[in-house]
């Protein structure tokens, strides 16, 4: 939880960090939120392409876009495709490619 009950705290990694900075957003960026939404809805509200995100961390736990439930007060990190490491599996950062 980020300590502010009417917003969600959002950070972006890799190119998304640059995108947030280019928009003049602070890190973390605070997005007003009144009620629960899923990961796709969060990206719509942030104006971030679905293809630019492979997985999310919600309150430090990795979860897929469709499975995520984001509530006011949460901290969310956007993980783009392209993150290496054995932890991709150990953390659950993996989205099955379309068609596989």
């Amino acid at each position: 939880m980020n300590g502010t009950p009417d917003t969600v705290e959002v950070v972006g990694f890799m190119d998304l960090a640059g995108l947030f900075r280019a928009r003049g957003w602070t890190s973390p960026h605070r997005l007003p939120l009144a009620g629960p939404i899923d990961g796709f809805e969060l990206l719509v509200r942030l104006d971030v392409s679905f293809d630019a995100v492979e997985s999310l961390f919600v309150n430090h736990k990795a979860i897929g876009l469709a499975d995520a439930v984001i509530r006011p007060g949460d901290r969310v990190a956007l993980v783009p495709p392209g993150v290496p490491g054995p932890h991709r599996f150990c953390l659950g950062i993996w989205r099955r490619p379309s068609g596989s």
């Binding site: 990694f13 890799m14 054995p86 989205r95």
Partner: protein
């Protein structure tokens, strides 16, 4: 005609031997581990005459295959007391493979005080007494050998730490820019130093492109393989732009970034030492964000990092090094971390074992947390010169922790635990505990297709499924380590079916075989079993397949996680 060079340092003789039939289908880790298991008494002293140091290119090294420049080095480890295989990039693997050399075995031990250089060529090895480079760092040694023999020679060398037979020492391999890559882990530099070999100079004269059983099939398979590397977001984009250091922020977010000697899982200054910050610095200072560690490397996860004045500071600036210095040792300045990385490379010490050791030394009060200047001084004045304090530090993480009576000593089989805390990331904890190598994140790096249904479903904070996940990762890694391919091909190999198939096709086209994916998995299993049998005979039984007790006693923020894997469940790892 493939051959094996056997260099006997006891009587300073060399034999050129044919490759035994049972070794013909092996390369890289499969070959080094097979030779060590066959010829090294498991109970021998790692620094004594009965240990052997084995160098072997991979099965695809020397071909036109992308990312096939990896090189294996094996021996009994003076750090773990078990079998060790370490992998490096650089130029030597390709040169040696093209000379038709399957492996170089360095055995025995000379009686006197002299040091030697091994000049390797197409007809054999010449053993020459070496004086000019003694005491020099790895960079100066490479410069001397370039001047002596020519820049096209491969160079494999020790820094001062290897000459002093320290357990933190590694073996360095010249890269395409005449900088160095390393056989980093397990103290293999001490084994080479114990044989009084300062360097190997590899003469490429007479080397030739390798004969292929089916050149057209190989070319087609390599084209497919190369395309999958380019198409995948990890191997084609993420690693190329940000390197492995992109993991700093990601692992910090997961609460698995071991900080201040593993006392918490998040680091307040993570942004200052992140891959994103590193990339911004590199671009602003006109460094190179993408850089190959070996010929034909397409992924190019390495980089050249300059200081504020645009002057070279380091290259091959890896996540694990940045984590160990920046988070575990609390150094906030990325430029200082880069300078320390370069000094460690020059001294020839492992850039995981050494900074993890320093974090333990910080907890012991030997130097202040985050004091990079003092660390540089200890490296240059004590470790490089092997003062009594330098020898204490040069013994590694476990050595220093025990000397100061600490209980938080992050080692498995006496090798330092790397950059992923096993409490919130249970799967990597299983790998640390069970791998034959001692705590090693790369032991479980690659991905086998048969775990597709596991990936993405395992909960990192729970124990369910972790042993099976780690087992499959380790089997696949052992197979990839035997091909000479970079482990990072694992990412497209998971997600793009044509990738793994093209690797098998390249092996078949190279050697005229009819292997299937199952055969490659079987190779990986066999490697692990050979290594495990060696370790059991060396005295590393099931009781050593465990994490340090403090992981069970101390929870880690932000998940308040402890290590709670049942030891009996861990023991099922070897049920295959």
């Amino acid at each position: 005609m493939h051959k094996i060079y056997r260099v006997n340092m006891t009587d300073l003789s060399v034999k050129v031997e044919p490759v035994p039939a049972e070794w013909a289908g092996l390369g890289g880790r499969a070959l080094t581990s097979t030779i060590v298991a066959a010829e090294v008494p498991p109970t021998c002293h790692p620094l004594g005459p009965n240990n052997k140091l084995v160098f072997a290119p991979g099965l695809l090294s020397g071909t036109a295959a992308s990312n096939a420049g990896r090189f294996s080095c094996g021996a009994k480890s003076p750090l773990t007391g078990g079998i060790k295989e370490s992998s490096a990039g650089g130029t030597s693997s390709r040169i040696i493979a093209r000379l038709g050399i399957k492996a170089i075995i360095v055995e025995g031990q000379p009686a006197g005080d002299a040091w030697y250089a091994l000049v390797v060529g197409k007809d054999g090895v010449e053993i020459r007494e070496e004086t000019e480079t003694l005491g020099l760092g790895t960079f100066a040694t490479v410069e001397k050998i370039n001047a002596r023999h020519g820049e096209d020679f491969g160079v494999i060398t020790l820094g001062p730490a290897g000459e002093h037979m320290m357990a933190i020492s590694n073996i360095s391999v010249k890269d395409p820019e005449s900088k160095i890559r390393s056989f980093g882990r397990g103290g293999l530099g001490a084994v080479m130093g114990s044989k009084r070999v300062k360097l190997l100079a590899i003469d490429p004269t007479g080397g030739a492109p390798l004969a292929l059983a089916d050149p057209a099939k190989f070319k087609e398979a390599n084209r497919t393989f190369t395309k999958t590397l380019a198409d995948h977001p990890v191997s084609g984009q993420g690693l190329k732009k940000y390197g492995t250091a992109v993991l700093v922020n990601v692992i910090n977010e997961a609460g698995g970034l071991p900080t201040k000697n593993f006392t918490t899982g998040q680091c307040d200054h993570h942004d200052q030492i992140s891959g994103e910050q590193m990339y911004d610095n590199i671009v602003a200072r006109e460094g190179e964000p993408s850089h190959p560690c070996s010929p034909a490397c397409q992924i190019q996860c390495s980089q050249v990092y300059n200081d504020k004045d645009g002057k070279y500071l380091t290259s091959g600036f890896e996540y694990e090094t940045i984590w160990a210095l920046g988070a575990d040792g609390m150094i906030k300045d990325l430029d200082v971390i880069a300078e320390i990385d370069n000094v460690m490379d020059d001294l020839g010490v492992d850039s995981i074992e050494t900074p993890v050791m320093f974090a333990v030394a910080m907890e012991a009060g030997l130097l202040p947390w985050g004091d990079g200047a003092r660390m540089l001084q200890l490296l240059r004045e004590d470790i490089a010169k092997a003062t009594p304090l330098g020898r204490l530090l040069g013994g590694g993480t476990g050595h220093v922790g025990r000397a100061y009576g600490l209980t938080r000593i992050p080692v498995v089989k006496n090798q330092a635990i790397p950059a992923y805390d096993p409490r919130p990331i249970k799967g990597i904890g299983v790998t640390y505990a069970t791998t034959t190598m001692g705590a090693d994140h790369t032991a479980g790096y690659a991905i086998a297709t048969n775990i597709l249904n596991v990936g993405g479903k395992v909960d990192p904070l729970k124990n369910d499924g972790q042993v099976e996940l780690s087992r499959n990762l380790q089997i696949a890694t052992a197979a990839v380590d035997s091909t000479g391919l970079c482990l990072f091909i694992a990412f497209p190999a998971l997600d793009i079916p044509a990738c793994l198939g093209s690797v098998v096709e390249m092996l078949n086209a190279r050697y005229g075989l009819a292997l299937t994916g199952d055969d490659v998995v079987a190779l990986g299993k066999n490697v692990l079993k050979i290594e495990h049998a060696f370790n059991l005979a060396a005295g590393l039984g099931p009781e050593t397949d465990r994490l340090p007790e403090f992981f069970e006693l101390e929870s880690i923020a932000p998940h308040d996680a402890k290590w709670d894997m049942d030891q009996k469940e861990l023991a099922t790892f070897w049920n295959f």
